[in-house]
């Protein structure tokens, strides 16, 4: 049979080959190259590599700007994790309890709508709302008797403004994930609990919540990805990491080192550090998430 296939040009590798080649060429090879690059001094302009060992890692870890980016990334995470998990979770539970299903779908459509926009579009829309002189938000604060705010250029406010935009633009994805998970909770389990006299809250907390815990873990991962990766589109448009780097994050720091100062070796070291964080979180999600599932 395999000979007949080969005659027809049907080797399975003709099917799978392009995808395997693409994965190697555009993901695995660049990944290895980044790791290698992080041990060298190398730039596009001066195409000559000098071995630096762990210097870039040492230098990066000692760089005050990196510290600031790291702290800011921590602030983004501390603010966005509870928001991005908690708010969509409450909305998902509430949406499952809407009895008019067609209306419920309209709500879902509206709530997910910002999530289909790109970060730069979301950022430009909010740039206009945030405008200190004629923006809508200061019109609102004016009506409330609060003095106008410089949402994006006040060092105490800028990072929170970016957080609001990131939350607005990305909570919908976690909402969908929770809704899908809740829809898969076996109805007979919930019904059985109801017959046993468990109230709505008990059913939600003791049955549905533990059963969707893998989705909760995944929502944590998507939030990490938003903060470490996608948010850069909002940071770049809204504040360019400023004022005084107060809204920068790790990826923006990488962007500045690599593509403003063209320190590729240093930027590679930052990329490895970011990837290590993401890999650690993903690993934890699989490890703890899977264990929770098998528990049931």
């Amino acid at each position: 049979m395999s000979m007949a296939w080969r005659r027809l040009g049907g080797s399975p590798w003709l099917f799978a080959g392009p995808a395997v080649a693409a994965a190697l060429l555009f993901v695995w090879l660049p990944m290895a190259a980044t790791l290698g690059l992080s041990f060298f001094d190398w730039s596009l302009l001066r195409q000559e590599a000098t071995w630096r060992g762990l210097d870039h890692y040492r230098g990066t870890l000692a760089n005050p700007d990196f510290h600031l980016a790291l702290v800011n990334t921590g602030v983004y995470l501390l603010a966005l994790l509870p928001l991005q998990v908690g708010v969509p979770l409450v909305l998902a539970f509430a949406l499952m309890r809407v009895q008019a299903k067609a209306t419920g779908r309209v709500y879902r459509t509206a709530l997910f709508a910002p999530s289909v926009l790109s970060f730069p579009v979301a950022a430009v829309v909010w740039l206009w709302l945030f405008n200190p002189t004629v923006g809508f938000l200061n019109t609102l604060t004016g009506m409330a008797g609060v003095p106008p705010q410089r949402w994006l250029s006040d060092p105490d406010l800028a990072i929170w403004s970016v957080i609001v935009v990131a939350f607005w633009k990305s909570f919908g994805l976690n909402l969908l994930i929770f809704l899908a998970a809740l829809a898969n909770v076996p109805r007979d389990l919930v019904e059985a609990a109801r017959i046993d006299g468990a109230g709505g809250w008990r059913r939600a907390l003791d049955i549905e919540l533990p059963l969707i815990s893998p989705a909760l873990f995944f929502a944590v991962v998507t939030t990490f990805i938003v903060v470490l990766d996608e948010i850069v589109g909002a940071v770049d448009v809204l504040t360019e990491g400023g004022p005084y780097r107060t809204s920068s994050n790790l990826l923006y720091f990488l962007y500045e080192r690599g593509f403003r100062h063209f320190q590729f070796g240093e930027a590679a070291a930052v990329a490895v550090l970011i990837a290590a964080i993401v890999a650690g979180v993903t690993w934890a999600q699989f490890h703890f998430g899977e264990r929770r599932v098998h528990y049931d």
Binding site: P12, V20, V98, V121, V125, L176, A271
Partner: protein, 313 residues
Amino acid sequence: MSTTTDAIAERGPPGPIVNHDADLARKRPEVGSARVRAPTRRGGQLLLHAAFIAVCVATLFPMLWMLRTAFAPSQDVFRATLSLWPDNATLGNFAAAFRLHPVGTWFMNSVVVAGAITLGKLAVSLPAAFAFGVLSFRGRDAAFALVVGTMTVPYVITLLPTYVAVAGIGLYDTLSGVIVPTIGHCGFVVFFLRQAFKALPRELFEAARIDGAGPWRQMVEIALPNIWGAVAAMAVLSFLGAWNLYLWPHLILDASEHKTLSIGLKLFATTGEQGGEWGPLMATALLAALPVVVLYLVAQRQLVSAFATSGIR
């Protein structure tokens, strides 16, 4: 986990989700306590709807404000107001935007980039997913792990060498430089389509094999027509992702007339005098948002199933 993805992958084009909801609605009255608790429930439902309407309006507001500003005549843009629609709505901001920047070219570049990435990802992923899901051959599992494992790699770590390579072969500041490396990030598409292929009954292929159909014919004539729903979901998801790309095209595209809408917007927002051309900028943002919002409304079911699966993987 896998049962969920299978169930989602199995959902064909017509609307089983609606049927599923209808089933639930039919089952509800059977529960004895429902009638007794009806009054409080109705009050609760009313509160629930009120809360959801408030949350939905707040969520949609920034987009509605963009819409308002995009159609507002220039003297109306800066008026402190709460009204959601301008008096004397006009298309003047669109004309002004096209005068200020090559917005039409940006739009076409976005279409080309998103279209090419979508087609490229499908062209690479469909045969691979078919091989991994239906055919059996030595090294299949290792190859599958290699391809799908790319889902776990943050693209940040591929950025610098890919940039150097693209510049090295003269694709800097070209759309191809944006398109080609992005096609390589197709792990999830392969994963999703393989689930769909796997869900098809084996007998389908046995019969075709006995009739002498080779694997290409099996894929195109027998498997593909049965998984259009999954293909549509991946097409929409890829298009959306590609349309919204930011950092990569931002690094690769330089000249204004080579930019896509997403990065053109940043250029637009940061050039021009303080005080800003907010009307034309919002008109441009609207053009950047419109295709994905329309796509979302048209293909919502495919998109939701794709996004939800991305969460269950």
